[in-house]
């Protein structure tokens, strides 16, 4: 079934095996953006490892994914990609040789903000949920955060910074609890323009979220299942 919204990128699971280096890099970047925080936090809650050990585990996990072609073992018929990745992480965490992990740190790899993640764990009181539920919640957060980043980039490229600023002010900073009249006054535009800009930004945001989900899944069935999980229907 073809999607209503155009799909601009293909599944990272497939793209990571691509011959095109640029596509591989972009897919890997998406994979890291979506999963490093949920996996790190999950590792911290699910194990007794210290923050430093979990940092090593997370860094080396992604390094090995890139080197060892570990994702080729993914079979959509056996379960979702998200669960597959978490199980891989568990296995990696159990087998990891710390020294090897440390050697893989740095060296052109993306710098991950572990200190921020650690502060978030302390603030979020994850003991109220299981490590798996916490992983799911953080994955939801990562999908939306990546979507916000992409929306910002796309609007900047298109010269629509004002539209994004309205979206940021209304839907991010005030979570919808601001009147359109206030926004119109703040940006010195008509109230109808606020309505139109917000509608356009939300439409674009929705498309980006679905795009990310398509990238993070390997089949139409998995995409639907993840969309429902993301939107809170089947957590």
């Amino acid at each position: 079934m073809s999607p209503l919204f155009p799909t601009t990128r293909r599944s990272v699971v497939l793209a990571l095996a691509s011959d095109d280096r640029e596509e591989r890099t972009r897919a890997f970047d998406t994979l890291v953006s979506l999963y490093w925080r949920p996996l790190y936090k999950y590792g911290r809650i699910a194990s007794t490892h210290s923050p430093a050990d979990c940092e090593d585990t997370t860094q080396s996990f992604f390094a090995r994914l890139l080197e060892n072609d570990a994702l080729s073992g993914y079979d959509p018929a056996k379960g979702g990609f998200r669960t597959f990745l978490r199980v891989l992480y568990d296995r990696h965490s159990a087998n990891e040789v710390k020294a090897a992990g440390r050697l893989k740190r740095g060296g052109g790899q993306r710098q991950l903000e572990f200190a921020d993640a650690e502060a978030e764990i302390a603030a979020e009181a994850p003991q109220t949920s299981t490590p798996e539920e916490y992983f799911h919640r953080e994955w939801v957060r990562s999908v939306f955060a990546l979507a916000v980043d992409r929306l910002r980039e796309e609007t900047e490229r298109a010269g629509k910074q004002t539209q994004f600023a309205i979206f940021e002010d209304y839907d991010l900073d005030h979570a919808g609890k601001l009147s359109y009249r206030d926004l119109a006054a703040r940006f010195a535009i008509a109230e109808t323009s606020v309505t139109n800009h917000l509608a356009a930004m939300r439409k674009q945001f929705r498309e980006i979220v679905l795009d990310i989900l398509r990238e993070a899944t390997a089949s139409e069935q998995e995409f639907r299942s993840e969309a429902r999980a993301l939107l809170g229907v089947e957590p």
Binding site: L4, R141, D149, F205, E207
Partner: protein
């Protein structure tokens, strides 16, 4: 990467999923139900100042084909103007392309919930007959529902009975193909095999439902159920109207088409049907016997 608070995530989740109804006369009140194809919301019709049910194509199944299916569903319901089918008021497409339609909001419970409470057999059969009549109306207009089950029947607060979810209904003769629609357990064998189905497929589902609604049914009623859910479609009632007619005969104490009764069975049925008359005659005969005996003493 942007760091989002829990409130922000909750808000973004809502705005991603919630239909953008700007430019329409409707405003979402709450989500009521979610099916494979669409999400049903209670909405406020600001123009007519009334509550309606709004079915919107689910975000995760958005495709031109799915959109066409939702609109086709709205058209099917609109064509079937019957008290047992909720009327469609309006239809359209959201700014993001998702199709929607507005219909009467039914306040009530599903037949599954209703039947789980303490209701008499007569009450349940009355409801079942209403379902049959609605299905019979659709059959008479050339439509097969294909997903009749207790969850798709709503009982309103005043006893109204509605057959819901016409999403997989198709005109007779256009039901085959790769897509197998329906609910396992209620689907006839030919429907499970993905063959072209006719009204007798709905009869099969009605038979499954009737069996579940009746504890220890009498023999004629058992025969009606058996005929309705016969694995061989040629042996079933040809449509819901024929099933309903046989059920009415059963309720009226008449001979049902599905049951071959013997002399004793016929006698029992007639006695049961004319209980008052039989009682009067019996009382008269007893009185006569007493008078006769009294005269001899």
């Amino acid at each position: 990467m942007t760091r989002l608070s829990n409130d922000m995530v909750a808000h973004l989740r809502d705005l991603t999923e919630a239909p953008d109804l700007g430019g329409t006369r409707y405003a979402i009140v709450r989500e009521i139900a979610r099916g494979g194809m669409g999400v049903i919301y209670e909405a406020d019709d600001r123009e007519l100042q009334r509550r309606v049910a709004l079915k919107v194509l689910a975000l995760e199944v958005s495709s031109p084909q799915a959109q066409a299916r939702i609109l086709e569903e709205a058209r099917t319901i609109a064509r079937l103007d019957h008290p047992g089918i909720v009327p469609v008021h309006d239809a359209g497409a959201l700014p993001d392309g998702r199709a929607w339609y507005a219909m009467k909001l039914v306040q009530g419970v599903t037949l599954r919930e209703y039947a789980s409470r303490d209701h008499s057999m007569a009450d349940l059969l009355r409801i079942f007959l209403r379902v049959c009549e609605t299905a019979a109306f659709a059959h008479a207009h050339g439509f097969i529902h294909r997903d009749i089950k207790p969850d798709n029947v709503m009982i309103g607060s005043f006893g109204e009975v509605f057959v819901m979810d016409w999403g997989v209904a198709r005109p007779a003769g256009m039901t085959g193909g790769a897509e197998i629609a329906g609910t396992h357990g209620y689907m006839s064998p030919e429907q499970e095999r993905g063959e072209d189905v006719d009204a007798s497929a709905d009869v099969y589902a009605l038979g499954v439902m009737l069996e579940a609604m009746t504890a220890r049914p009498a023999r004629p009623l058992r025969a009606i159920i058996a005929m309705a859910r016969n694995p061989e479609r040629s042996q079933r009632y040809k449509d819901a109207g024929a099933l309903a007619a046989d059920l009415v005969r059963f309720l009226d104490g008449e001979r049902v088409g599905a049951y071959r009764e013997g002399m004793i069975g016929a006698l029992t049925r007639l006695i049961s049907k004319h209980r008052a008359l039989v009682g009067l005659v019996a009382a008269y005969l007893v009185m006569r016997a007493i008078i006769l005996l009294w005269g001899r003493v």
